[in-house]
């Protein structure tokens, strides 16, 4: 290869490496935050309903601080190269989606939409070719939410909260109905979707237990 071409290739490589290092630093930040949040959110399984707002009060500042990291990543990624580097932060981003939707569920009992999650995480839709929340990543985050709620259904009962499993059951079934509409091909999302039925089964068993023993209010009368 000509010396000129050799240098050209080496320059390109050098630039890519610098960029990769920069992104890596920012992603490490995001990673740190999502780990803190999943640590905190792990406590929902041992937090009674009346103390939940206090716990969420601890999570929300961290969630909001993701905005700066998001902006920092969006700033280093060159235009049109979003998908080129995305693999570097996909996992962290999915955990962040999980945290956001979990907080959303615990506060309002509903599912945050993709644009709402984007808002929470401070992802500007105008950055779409540098940093965006892809449908796939949102859906992965939502599946993590369902995984975690199946645990919460069990642990809520342990803490004497018999209504929560019933709420969770309706919520999760709606989400499952949504996922059933997708034409998934054989990819990780498909495999995780397949795992949802075990979560539903687990939740249903809890609902069954509390209903039979008339521990849960209201719904029994209807059926």
């Amino acid at each position: 290869m000509d010396v000129k071409d050799l240098e050209y290739v080496n320059d390109l490589l050098e630039q890519d490496n610098e960029l990769r290092e920069k992104i890596k630093d920012e992603v490490a930040e995001l990673d740190k935050k999502t780990r803190t949040m999943s640590g905190l959110l792990n406590r929902i399984h041992s937090t009674p309903a009346e103390q939940m707002p206090a716990l969420l009060g601890q999570v929300k500042p961290v969630l909001e601080s993701c905005r700066t990291t998001t902006a920092a990543i969006a700033n280093v990624v060159p235009p049109t190269q979003f998908w080129r580097w995305k693999d570097m932060w996909t996992n962290s981003l999915r955990s962040a989606v999980f945290a956001a939707t979990m907080v959303g569920y615990l506060e309002t009992g509903t599912l945050l939409t993709l644009p709402q999650v984007r808002d929470v995480l401070g992802i500007d839709p105008q950055w779409s070719d540098r940093y965006a929340l892809a449908a796939e990543d949102y859906l992965h985050g939502v599946i993590s939410l369902v995984n975690e709620l199946s645990r919460l259904a069990v642990n809520a009962v342990t803490m004497g909260n018999f209504e929560e499993p019933i709420k969770i059951s309706t919520f999760v079934k709606d989400i499952f109905a949504g996922f059933s509409m997708l034409n998934l091909k054989n990819d990780p999302l498909r495999r995780r979707y397949d795992s949802l039925k075990y979560d539903i089964k687990k939740i249903e068993e809890v609902v069954y237990d509390v209903s039979l023993r008339k521990l849960a209010p209201s719904r029994n009368q209807a059926s």
Binding site: M1, D2, K4, D5, L6, Y8, V9, L12, L13, D16, N17, K60, T80, Q81, F82, W83, R84, V103, G104, E107, T108, G109, T110, L111, L112, T113, L114, Q116, D119, V120, S128, D129, A135, E136, L139, K173, D174, I175, A177, G178, F179, M181, L182, N183, L184, K185
Partner: protein, 289 residues
């Protein structure tokens, strides 16, 4: 966050309508992905045909301008071979324009951030194209084609690229060239003047291997390709060695030497499949498919 709660997905209907949107988005993505995979396969096929065409012209005894049997003499083959190479290159380029047209046709699928999303689907065909292009370029100039020239070949008349050429595909495409050059050198050896040519190729491939070695940490596929290059290089070296031994051992005329070499080569290649060079193709291209 609480000010957006009223638009939350509180009912099943709301959730279903949102997921309908996801379904369309995912379907769109998967369909495009499939189209690009198919496109890439077509590009690969045509590029392989071009490579065969180049080999064919270079070994076609009847082709005009051939120095064979015409007493051009040792070290030559010169004029005949040169014009043959140029003819091959120009025929190859003609066909390569068809491939370039195919890339132009999918340009609209790869605009903006989409290119990098589907880079993995585009990549196999792109590498095969670069292999064919660089082979034609080598026959024409005896050099390795530069990154910018490859990118230019994938640009419209105004010089706007159809998509950015990934460094990785460029290097991996070039790395495949060494395998073609091995075939080229081995089949050339049996021809008059082929030994010089084999020597040239040998030096060239050795340099390629040395140049590429420093980049292996950056691209994991390059490591594998380097191993293939090493094997190709060894085949050329062995052939060159065989010739050297024979020509030093016997004090024979170049014509006689050529006969001996012809026998060496037919031994090297005679035990493959019926098809000429068949064994080498299977060996190298298998994992790509």
């Amino acid at each position: 966050m609480s000010d957006t709660t009223n638009t939350n997905l509180g009912s099943r209907d709301a959730i279903l309508s949102v997921f309908e949107g996801f379904r369309d988005e995912l379907d769109d993505h998967n369909d495009r992905r499939e189209r690009l995979i198919k496109h890439s396969r077509d590009v690969t096929n045509l590029s392989k045909k071009i490579i065969f065409l180049l080999h064919r012209i270079m070994t076609d005894d009847a082709s005009e301008g051939s120095g064979d049997g015409g007493g051009v003499g040792v070290g030559g083959g010169g004029v005949g071979d040169r014009s043959r190479a140029l003819k091959a290159a120009s025929k190859g380029r003609e066909k390569l324009r068809e491939v370039q047209g195919m890339f132009a046709n999918v340009r609209h699928e790869l605009t903006g951030d989409r290119f990098w999303r589907y880079q993995r689907q585009v990549s196999p065909g792109l590498q095969e194209y670069i292999e064919a292009l660089s082979f034609a370029h080598y026959l024409e100039t005896g050099k390795l084609i530069g990154y910018e020239e490859v990118q230019k070949s994938l640009s419209d008349d105004q010089g706007a690229p159809y998509f950015p050429l990934p460094l990785e595909d460029y290097l991996l495409g070039l790395s495949d060239l060494t395998g073609e050059l091995m075939r080229y050198a081995i089949s050339a050896i049996s021809r008059r003047g082929g030994r010089t040519k084999a020597q040239d190729v040998c030096v060239f491939v050795r340099n390629c291997r040395a140049d590429f070695e420093v980049w292996t940490p950056y691209f994991k596929d390059l490591r594998k390709k380097q191993n293939v290059t090493s094997q190709s290089l060894e085949k050329i070296e062995d052939a060159a060695y065989a010739i050297m031994v024979r020509s030093s051992e016997y004090d024979l005329s170049p014509d006689m030497l050529d006969d001996i070499v012809a026998r060496t080569v037919s031994f090297e290649h005679g035990n493959g499949s019926g098809r000429k060079r068949g064994r080498d193709y299977e060996g190298e291209d298998g994992p790509d498919e």
